[in-house]
Amino acid sequence: MTATQERPSAEIGQSRRRKEDQRLITGRTRWTDNIQLPGMLHIAMVRSPFAHATITNIDTSEALAATNVVTVLTGADLAAEQGTLPTAWNITTDQKAAAHLPVAVERVAFAGEIVAIVVARSAAEARDAAELVDVDYEELPAVLDLKKAATDEVLAHPDLGTNKSAFWQFDSAGAGTGTSVDDAIAEARANGILIEREYRQQRLIPAFMEPRSFVCDPTGEQLTLWSSTQIPHITRFFLAVVLGIPENKIRVIAPDVGGGFGGKLQFVAEEIIAVLVARRTGKPCKFTETRSESLMTAHHGRDQWQTLTLAATKDGTVTGLKVDLLCDLGAYAGTVGGGVPILGAFMFNAIYKFPAYQFNCTNLFTNKTLTDAYRGAGRPEATFAIERLMDELAVEVGVDPLEIREKNWITHEEFPFTSVCGLVYDSGNYEAATAKAKEMFGYDELRAEQRRRRESGDPVQLGIGISTFTEMCGLAPSRVLGSLNYGAGGWEHAAIRMLPTGKVEVITGISPHGQGHETALSQIVADRLGVAFEDVEVLHGDTQISHKGMDTYGSRSLVVGGEAVVRAADKVIERAKPIAAHLLEASVDDIEFSGGRFGVRGTDKGLAIGEIALASFAAHNLPDGVEPGLDADATFDPDSFSFPHGTHLCAVEIDTETGGVTMRKYVCVDDIGNIVNPMIVAGQVHGGLVQGIAQALFEEAVHDDAGTLVSGSFVDYLVPTAADTISFDIEHTTSPSTNTMLGTKGVGEAGTIASTPAVVNAVVDAIRHFGVNDVRMPCTPERIWRAIHSRDGGDGTPGAAMPHFSEEEPGRDSVEGADQ
């Protein structure tokens, strides 16, 4: 017997087409809403049109009498059993929060909150009857503006007595990781440069492609919930905790899920409702939200005011950074909720050697849809702030913005580098990524063209934007999460089943929703076990199959989940070795594993791993004391985050007559460590870039003064399409992570984190000579046009570019939305 499987080359590094695409793209797969069960009932929600109101009466009689309506339930009906929606991350032990009921009982705190549930035999009948539920409200004053929320004049939850949920601080002097930021600011105020800015992170909507859908079947021994979620394992845990259902009686399945971007990383009211209704009726129940419901009530992201002070010496060496955030939680603290800005707490210092740093974060409630993690979650906000500030510092010093970065960044010789936050950056090479990006971009030529256009007064001006970002991803070391008061760990689990025929099943605790995990993990396992790519099946998203896991978010799947798979694979090999040695009549010490074959050192004898699997299955001839089977599992808990980085360069043309923006060129060189599948990486980078560009130019969730989301359809919430983007130039440098065997760093969020400031820097750079130093996001043509013409009486870009830390300063008013 000899090893027979010949594999052409290593799988890792190959641009494999995604094995999941055929079923996803053709629609052959079954999404949650496609699931049809015998006798299934359908749920429609009745939602509050008011941002803040007392429910004075609910008349369900007409709805109950409607055709094929099974039941109509209100919050009062469910009060005893519905529990409250949990928060996994109380950022402080005294964090305040109002109880978030799946169905409101007495009071609603945002427009879109569920007040009644209609259950009928068809979705159409449920929808029809929902119109017949007559709810009376008594409106309460609503707090909709973040800065006004901070004054506590109007309360989102009167019983709390304040809108403030929590205040959280990191201070480098206090933590012993750096010096005093106030000293640095005082010194800079006297003898150096201070850059003081206020930036707005507008509210965004994840806008995943598949609206959320939940099906609950209570008829089996285990109650089964199909959920379009990123987090089936966490959902199972929460169902047990919140509803008191024994965890062993719950099965959660995330079938193929159509996108998430963080928007499906929550345990939500609709999920609980599907379960409660199924339990009450004893029948399978389905709820699928409409796009309108999704935009209005699935959580939103970002929504911060950032007050920033950067201190530097006159030559542009940074000496301190102070960050004050006001963060809008919306009406309730979400699953991650208040922790989102904390994920950015250690990233404002970015790749720069700040000796002093202070981060202050105030989380506030408003009567709006709650906010939670959205692609990047905390880190895009941080990256935006620091990269915008570095451009402003360059202007102040009078040097090229790349030069100011180079002056302050960590050089590649300095890795591993302990940041002012105490985090250890394992590897990186900012110089190399930047040099490569500059060359690809034609940086010097574009700068020359920019000069020419300025000098000739060209109505079309050119701007160049830079973002030399880093992020922390691979969530996360459990101990670090614990120290941040997060409610769970950050490990990941994997198992490998060697089937008798030599095929392989990989079970992972990550939960893909479009990323291509099945392909990437198959490539990893193919290489590790020396089997064919096609012979590997990746199973996930069903708690009966993948019994434990921490799911997918925070660019963790490959970095943490992939590493767990590697470790499980290595255990399989270790389990196989004694069997191979026994069958080959050799000492275990002489067994070498390579290319899928167990050989005996110094001989040409060997057995393929599939042969060992079969032998192990038959178990006719195993060494004494060796259990049949090669299956193994592993749980990996990282010691550290990973720190991908990159240099993004963006050139935009601004039509000064209209304010219109045309992207001219976008180059990014990302160092994400080792790359498993370049095509998947390119997809993640492209999609990430577009999402970040969309924040810079297009998207904003806008509420009117009654608290209604007026950008509540894709008519007004402008998600760009391929027609609105250009072809990006993507390259990589590679500094493998030293924390894992795979050496990967995570790429799911990189594009989104990096691109937003690159674009806004480019926009501001194009029109800076008009006296502009900020344009609020999204940089609409109107805002840009007004910024250009603000010096002749226009109102410029209100809310930006003024000194702060002084409440009397003008321009602190925040007036959101259409009138800006």
């Binding site: 119109e131 209209t658 027609a723 046009w785």
Partner: protein
């Protein structure tokens, strides 16, 4: 997104459609492609008892030459209009506008007459139709009548079509040899224009002999920029001359304000886009 229940009627002749309309009147909505109606029904912002689909009336489809005019059947899809050689030759402005109308999927479902009857002031066809002096042929139980474009657009989503009438075709006087351009300003490709300008000009030896200009989304109806048209007549087709005339583009307009820009910004845009549209049209 499930609409309320309705009865679906699919007449195969205009007479049948009119009879259905007469019978069901206010309880009926006409489906003429459905690219605006269906979203509204799915959002349940309307719940008619009857939907009368004109899609099976073959007589309402197609483009024909009718002497001094071309005639476009109301149920002709945008994609057909956009690729029709007669339209391109005699009403180039329509071709140019259709090119940028919504997206390819909508252009294959939506219809020329449906869009005009919908009378969304941000729709891309109203301004070109107005500029070209289109005539709207409207059928009722008592016969047909023809309404000039100037009288057709009444207000926001409101036209001269009566409740029991149907727009059957649109006659567009031939503007053979006229230059045309539709300058549309959007933030993302698939959105309604923030402002758009439809310009068609007859250039004679470097001079603008005649110009006809329509404005999209500058008021509750499509508008003619008559002040610009008058100022352009007899002017050389030069940047300076056109710039000066285009400055009047927003005279008297009362554009809307929304998330994409306020009324003042739209007024400004109208002048810039008018200049560009006229110059492009004059340049062939």
């Amino acid at each position: 997104m499930i609409p309320a229940q309705f009865d679906y009627l699919a007449p195969t002749s205009v007479e049948e459609a009119l009879a259905a309309l007469a019978e069901h009147g206010d309880e009926a909505k006409i489906l003429a492609g459905g690219q605006s109606l269906l979203p509204v029904l799915r959002m349940r912002l309307n719940a008619p008892e009857f939907v009368i689909d004109l899609g099976r009336i073959d007589a309402l489809r197609g483009v024909r030459d009718d002497g001094d005019a071309i005639v476009i059947g109301a149920m002709t899809q945008h994609s057909v209009v956009g690729s029709d050689p007669l339209v391109a030759e005699h009403a180039a402005l329509i071709s140019k506008a259709v090119e940028h109308l919504a997206d390819a999927q909508i252009r294959h479902r939506g219809t020329f007459g449906g869009a005009l009857a919908h009378a969304d002031p941000a729709g891309d066809l109203g301004a070109p139709a107005l500029a070209l002096g289109a005539e709207f042929v409207i059928a009722g139980t008592g016969g047909t009548r023809t309404v000039p474009a100037d009288d057709f657009f009444v207000d926001l989503f409101e036209t001269a079509i009566g409740e029991d009438e149907i727009l059957t075709e649109v006659r567009i006087p031939k503007h053979t040899g006229w230059g045309a351009h539709y300058e549309k300003f959007v933030r993302v490709a698939h959105q309604w224009p923030i402002v758009a300008v439809a310009a068609t000009v007859r250039v004679d030896g470097g001079t603008i002999a005649e110009a006809r200009i329509g404005l999209t989304n500058m008021g509750s109806t499509p508008l003619r920029a008559r002040a610009v048209e008058e100022a352009l007549a007899g002017q050389p087709a030069t940047e300076d001359a056109v710039r000066s005339a285009a400055a009047k583009a927003a005279d008297g307009a009362n554009p809307p304000s929304d998330l994409n820009g306020d009324a003042d910004y739209r007024r400004h845009l109208a002048t810039v886009l008018t200049r560009r549209a006229v110059l492009a049209a004059a340049g062939g």
